[in-house]
Subunit: 358 residues, 4 copies
């Protein structure tokens, strides 16, 4: 399954070390003036090699849009695009062609398909997420025209974390440091931790939080397709994501109802609002007009520059010493991917919602 | 959206205070000898009024299966079923017909649909989950024939919690107490806490964990439709669920890669296995043959038997004092719902997986 | 697959000789005032035993709606319904339990599922279409509120046929005779032919045509999901349907382009219209605002009250002499089914269409 | 909607006069050794400019496959591909940018999307079908490994037609003439007729028939997703298709049941077979193991090299004299498109069918 969405649908393709990655964006509403420069700018945020914290793989990652636009405006027709792979050193991977790298997808792909493309992890490589960023950047431009804004940022690297802020931080505060944590001081500590971890040939986990503003009340579905479920599905579809929570999340599940209630009131503009937002903007599966807030946990990636014990594809024990180029911590580069998946999820939910009433 | 699944599909209907709830199970494989008594037994586990910890609403919840079986065996045709509502005292709800109860779905349904059935929460009531338990009980019987077993149990009530056990506890240990926590001592503490909370007219959150054994390696999809994403979607579709994590979850996201790796080895029967299971049985979105392990957080339900400030559907402030009958803590009754949603998700993924290879 | 549709979705269940048939209507827009009497009236049009031309099976076919309405108005929640089976004489079918009736689904169901419910054809019986009529009657009431009207009628019985009329005939003209052919004289001939055929223990085929008015321009999709393809799928899903054509259909495929062009003009109200309607209201897969016109061919049903040669489920030759009660010609009772499937298809396409533009 | 299929899914993109057309093939089973030369050969069969009977537009139509293959074998991962557009003379279309060409999609696209890419018909051009041929060629190679063979051929041009043959004609007989009619004499007449029509600046309709052999019994669904309905949907999704019928089709609908029955017998290899095949290989929506046979009608294309009366996008009458390059009759080039859509439909249905039984 390489398609995401119901009315706004993204279908991706491509392996880490093939000729290209790319995809088709279908169901993009007609009449949106799209800036390809902005799409490219989002892609640049995800690009490898942006800072000392990320893999040294160097990919220019230029998106080529092949259809669906006419004089800069979406026509309602599908948008095909490709991103050529440049820096794929297949030689780097020849030594792992018969090895099941621990905590990677080598074994599970083989179990599912009977064979696998072992070059750079093939389809299981996070390289594939670049195509999601392109699709998300289109969705984002439609959402902006509707007044909806999606902001993701790093809130944890290993044990270092900041709480969910009450309001979405500015893009400037987020982009001010390579960790993409809006708290500058904490960002500096996170950065030091990542560099230490890398020096050990190790990796470390973290978390990305996301705040959506401007989403009108009434979006989402009551039973299946709840907004929380749609977002959970979207987030857990990102490589290395291990957990999702919204509003007060797991912490709120330790509390009493009287601590967690969000009293309604009518604001000065006559709109329904809540005095607190423990619900994270979603009640009964449907947006209530308050900011949607959620958090995604990312495990430490499993490629260690250390000796690790494993087996080969005939079940024999082997010792693996990984080479190749990998991120010591994925969260900074996961930020634009979280935003992209959020944008696609919300645009789809908004379009579906138009069918709710006569 | 009231349908869940791709090849094994459940479609539900029904409101808390209508004539009946029910649904259609489609894509149930032919040739499964199904015990309706077992289906009913699962429904009884979810039934209100089983213990002092649950709502006093008394529903016999008898399932009537209307199609899809012939001489006790599934035919491959859709299985329609109904559960009549008996104890629906609509009068209980007349006082809230124009009130937006805080942290309920009253406002969001109105925002989405322009109107709502206010009797007992209508479709937003957790009563709807009874139909999922029926569908899940069918899926479970197909899974059992394939050697797959799903076990959910309570691991937290408010701040009281137990860690994820290494192995699935027995059904006996789980059913030995009304909280459905397999640790008897902790269960007793949890029970006391719930009774205290109820005495205060308050509610409390908690968590349900689930362990799946016997799932073969190779189930799930690499990009969208990852097994973790499918489960996250399924779990977050349950009323009051606010978070999902699998394997080491959020806790694992604070760690280093070297602590989290699951080394492969070949077990005595020649099967690929891992020495630890931090991955929770899923790698690259696909099952690896180890137990699948995950945890779901449930918020405290928002119906308090206390005065709460809110607004009516014309935006005017009102004071609400809820009556009606509600669970002080949902986790014990959520256990069979988590199992049901898990069973449906896995059966669907197993069936989809049959298309992976030539 | 027992679900039809994308946003407006119908899921049916039930066998000819089980306890009940029924279904779930999901995605019905909120805010439609629905008359259940009208739903019942549609069901009565499809009911067996209405005239000498149809099976003697006597089913009251009372629909019981279980959810999704509040004070007579749709709430946006799924509409569950059941129709109890009454007159199911299972004994009639015991002699065919091991026989593959020719040109029935006995063999193919067994090939697919490994077993089958042989009572009255089980799920392959046209009895199942009663549930579609219910769902269609709901869709029809939403369409009416949008100004869309669907009219089907018989245009052929065996070799007797009338051409597609330029305008939709009135309901009165159609219901004036048991064949549901708006041409009274031809209807009388058709009726005589059917009675003759029945007297021979034989059956005969026919055709149903359908005209949709009031559908706005712009509904349907350009590539997959073309309006013609959606309708073809819907029509060929009806038991005994063997062909579908729209506009000038197969006849138009023998012609030259210069004979078939539909010149545009601007009508007196300033709307775009075409001087002829060879296209049948659909151009490039999308409605053009002219009446949508199509025709469906139904084969003669294969249950003959004559000796027929066949085999049993162990491959041994047997002679079959059918008993049971069957229609000598299905078209009259297919008319409301064609309308129902058309209404569902169009409502779904209209709802999907709301996502076309920003 | 630019995706076709459930488990085997094709998603296409691209306009007639954009940079490229292409698509993603998802759900292709792993382990199929694929010949790209064969894919290219199918594409060459659809290519414009192959004979005097087709448009003079000259497109090399080279497919570039970007992913999903490893060492010539499918990996189960999505197959992305592009076909660059070369010979797109946008200038040819500048004169129609504000004109609604009659019986084209210009008006309906504008009604749906509020704007359109007028260059060469944009997405409504049959050029898009080239991408279906690529996807179909992949499906065909999987089907071949399963013993299924799909053969389409021309059976009518205007009023000239041949009956459905009892057996699939050879590829050689079909490719022996530019009309792709296996009856050489009739092919010559058809060719003359097309050249006459072209000389008049006119176009003409026709029909393509298709015979599938080797499809096992048991494929297809009983209610929705019937094999006939799936094929109808697939065929009516092809540009200019106006009708679909299978088995004896509309002709069989004029007959008596006693003429149309297909008696079962057990053949010399012990397989269930039927003595006649009026059913066209499908009974109750499911394949019965006999050849699947159907026919598709194509209207004459509406681009005439004659003066035609129409309106512009402000509703004012204009006279149009089309230039550009178009096929006088589409059927010869539709043959590989019919095969491609059939292959995709059947592979999808076969994969879905694997879920039928425990």
């Amino acid at each position: 399954m390489n398609t995401f969405g119901t009315l706004f649908r993204f279908t991706g393709f491509g392996e880490s070390h093939g000729a290209a990655i790319g995809g088709v964006i279908d169901g993009m509403p007609a009449g949106v003036a799209v800036s390809i420069d902005e799409v490219q700018a989002e892609l640049d945020r995800r690009r490898p090699g942006q800072s000392a914290l990320t893999t040294a793989r160097s990919e220019p990652d230029r998106v080529e849009v092949l259809s669906g636009l006419f004089e800069g405006v979406t026509t309602g027709c599908p948008i095909g695009f490709v991103i050529r792979n440049k820096d794929h050193r297949s030689a780097d991977y020849s030594n792992v062609s018969h090895t099941f790298r621990p905590s990677h997808a080598d074994f599970t792909y083989t179990a599912k398909y009977g064979l696998r493309d072992y070059r750079g992890g093939g389809r299981s490589s996070a390289r594939e997420t670049a195509t999601r960023v392109v699709a998300g950047a289109f969705a984002m431009q439609a959402l902006r025209a509707m007044g909806v804004k999606v902001t993701a940022f790093t809130t944890a690297v290993g044990p270092l974390s900041i709480p969910m802020p009450a309001e979405a931080p500015s893009r400037e505060a987020i982009e001010a440091n390579p960790v993409r944590c809006p708290d500058a001081e904490m960002a500096a500590s996170m950065e030091r931790l990542i560099l230490d971890v890398r020096a050990d040939g190790d990796t470390i986990g973290g978390a990305v939080s996301c705040i959506v503003t401007g989403l009108p009340a009434g979006v989402g579905d009551p039973v299946f397709g709840r907004l929380g479920a749609r977002l959970a599905d979207a987030m857990l579809s990102i490589n290395a994501a291990k957990g999702f929570e919204y509003g007060m999340g797991f912490e709120g599940c330790t509390r009493r109802g009287s601590e967690m209630i969000d009293p309604f009131y009518t604001d000065e503009e006559g709109r329904v609002a809540t005095r607190s937002n423990h619900s994270g903007g979603i009640q009964g599966g449907i947006s209530n007009g308050m900011p949607v807030m959620f958090r995604v946990g990312f495990k430490p990636v499993a490629t260690l520059l250390q000796d690790v014990e494993t087996i080969d594809d005939e079940g024999r024990p082997v010792m693996l010493h990984a080479r190749g180029r990998h991120d010591p911590c994925v969260v900074a580069r996961a930020v634009p991917v979280v935003e992209a998946m959020t944008a696609m999820t919300l645009l789809d939910a908004i379009l579906i919602n138009r069918a709710s009433r006569l």
